[in-house]
Amino acid sequence: MNVDPVHVRAFGPTALLAEVDDAAAALALATWLREHRVAATEVVPAARTVLLDGLDPADLGGARALLAGWRDEPAAGDDAGQGRGPVGPVVELPVVYDGPDLDDVADLWGVSREEVVARHTGLELLSVFCGFAPGFAYLSGLPQEWAVPRLDSPRTRVPAGSVAVADTWCGVYPTVSPGGWRLLGRTRTPLWDVDRDPPALLAPGTRVRFVVEDPS
C-alpha cells in the first residue's frame, strides 16, 4: 500500500505542486480536491502533477493537510481510487480518417491504414488534462506499445479539428495552431466554444470515443 501517494513541492508563495504517479492519478486528485473545496483559484491536473495556485500564503498548511489526506487507492465499496471512478460524460467524435500522417502511423505500428482506424476507434479514452491551447485535451488510453514519436519538425499550421496522436496521447486540435502531433483525420465537432459551459468539450474527466464518419 502506498501510504504517501502525493509528494508536495512549494511553487512560489501562493502555490503548491502535488506530484503523483501518472495522469489518471492527477485527474483523480484534482477531482477529489475540487470535491473537498480546496481554497485554490486554480486546480490544474497535468501529466504527473496537480498545481494548486492562488492559495492564501498564510494558509499553505491547510492545503498541505488536505493533500496528505488523499489516498490513490480503492475505498471500501469503490472499484477505483478516490475520484477514479467513471467521472464525466461520454463524448463520441465522428472522424474522417484522411490525415496526412495516417500512412506513417500505419508503418510505425506495422499494420494497414484500416487497422489504424480500427485500433483508434476501439480506444476508450479519458481527458486527463488540458493544456497547450484552450480546449486542447490530453486523452489517455493509447497503449504504451502503440506510442508514436512526435514529428521531427512541427507543422506551422494544423487545421482546427485535426485528430492526432503523439507518445501515448490522443488529442484533437480545437483551433488552428502549430503542432507536432501526427494527424490521423479530422472531426467537424466544435471542441471549443466560449458560449458553452464549460467551453472545452473535452474538459478533464470527459470520456471520449472516436467513430468513423464517411467523407461527404
Partner: protein
C-alpha cells in the same frame, strides 16, 4: 444613462483592453491575462472612480489617440507617457476631465513600457469567459485595439471621489526582482538558484505579455531532459534548453514542460511589464 463611446483614432505598437482576467480556467488551457502592471492599472481605475478590475486600456509605448462621445474622466498611470487633452497637457496619475469631442493623446514614455488609461465607467466591450481582457497567446477576448474601433463605455458610478489615501505611482523599475525557490531545482543542479541570482541579465528583444525573455550567460543545466507537462504560475522563471530564463507573465501558457528555477515575488511582477529590451535584470532571494 449610457456611458458613451471611445473612438480610437490611433494606436502605438500594441494597445489592449485589460481587466483582472480569467482566473480559474487554467485547467481548460485558458491563460489568466490581465494587466502586466497591476498596481498601475488599479490606481488608474481608482482615480476615475471605477472598481478595481474595471476594464481599461494597456498601452505599449504610447501612440494612442482617442475621443469620447460624452464628457467623462480619464486617468493615465504606469509608464509616464506625455498626455494631452486637446492642446492642454494632462497630468499623470490623477483624474483629468475629457470633454465630449476632445482628443486624448499619449506620446511615447521616456521610461517604462506600459501606460494604463482608465475611463470613468470602464471599457464595456462584451466579456468572454467572464473577462474583457485580450489574451494575446490564446486569442481569447476582444481583439487588439485598432484605429477605427468604437469602444463602448460603462456607466460611471458618479464623479470620481477624491482618493483619500493617494497611492504614489511606483516609479521606474529597478530591474531587481525578488524570487522564491522554484519546484524543480534538482533538475537544474544544486547551485541553480545561486547561479540565477549571480548572473547579470538584460531584457531580450522578444519580451511580451507572455514572458519576459532574458539574455545573458546560459544557466548550466544538470538535466537536459524535458519534464512531463505541468501547471505554471505567474512569475515562473522557466529555463528552456537555451539556458536563458523566461519569466512567465499574464498571458503565459497554463502548462509547460521546462523546469522552473524560481518564482518572482508578486510584489515585483509589475516591473516585468515595465522593463525595456536591453535594460538590466538581476534576481535576488526574497526575504
Amino acid at each position: 444613462m449610457t456611458g458613451g463611446v471611445l473612438e480610437v483614432l490611433a494606436t502605438g505598437p500594441l494597445c489592449t483592453v485589460q481587466d483582472h482576467g480569467r482566473p480559474g480556467l487554467a485547467h481548460l488551457g485558458v491563460p489568466r491575462a490581465g494587466p502586466l502592471d497591476r498596481p498601475a492599472a488599479d490606481l488608474a481605475n481608482r482615480l476615475v472612480g471605477n472598481r478595481p478590475g474595471a476594464a481599461l486600456l494597456e498601452v505599449v509605448l504610447g501612440g494612442l489617440e482617442l475621443r469620447a462621445t460624452v464628457d467623462t474622466w480619464v486617468a493615465v498611470t504606469g509608464a509616464p507617457a506625455p498626455a494631452a487633452v486637446g492642446r492642454r497637457s494632462a497630468g499623470l496619475a490623477r483624474a483629468e476631465r475629457l470633454p465630449a469631442g476632445a482628443v486624448l493623446r499619449l506620446g511615447a514614455p521616456a521610461t517604462g513600457v506600459r501606460s494604463y488609461v482608465a475611463v470613468a465607467g470602464g471599457v464595456d466591450v462584451a466579456p468572454v469567459l467572464g473577462s474583457r481582457s485580450t489574451d494575446t497567446l490564446a486569442e481569447v477576448g476582444p481583439p487588439v485595439v485598432a484605429p477605427g474601433q468604437r469602444l463602448p463605455l460603462g456607466s460611471p458610478a458618479g464623479p470620481p471621489a477624491a482618493v483619500e489615501a493617494p497611492v504614489a505611482p511606483t516609479g521606474p523599475p529597478t530591474g531587481l526582482l525578488r524570487v522564491h525557490p522554484g519546484p524543480r531545482l534538482e533538475r537544474l543542479g544544486p547551485h541553480a538558484l545561486a547561479e540565477l541570482c549571480a548572473t547579470a541579465y538584460v531584457v531580450g528583444a522578444e519580451a511580451d505579455r507572455v514572458g519576459l525573455r532574458l539574455d545573458g550567460p546560459p544557466l548550466t543545466r544538470a538535466d537536459a531532459g524535458e519534464l512531463p507537462s505541468e501547471g505554471m504560475v505567474l512569475g515562473s522563471v522557466q529555463v528552456p534548453p537555451s539556458g536563458r530564463p523566461v519569466v512567465f507573465l499574464a498571458d503565459h501558457p497554463p502548462t509547460g514542460g521546462y523546469p522552473v528555477v524560481a518564482v518572482v515575488d508578486p510584489r515585483d511582477l509589475w516591473q516585468c511589464g515595465q522593463l525595456r529590451p536591453g535594460e538590466p535584470v538581476r534576481f535576488t532571494r526574497a526575504r
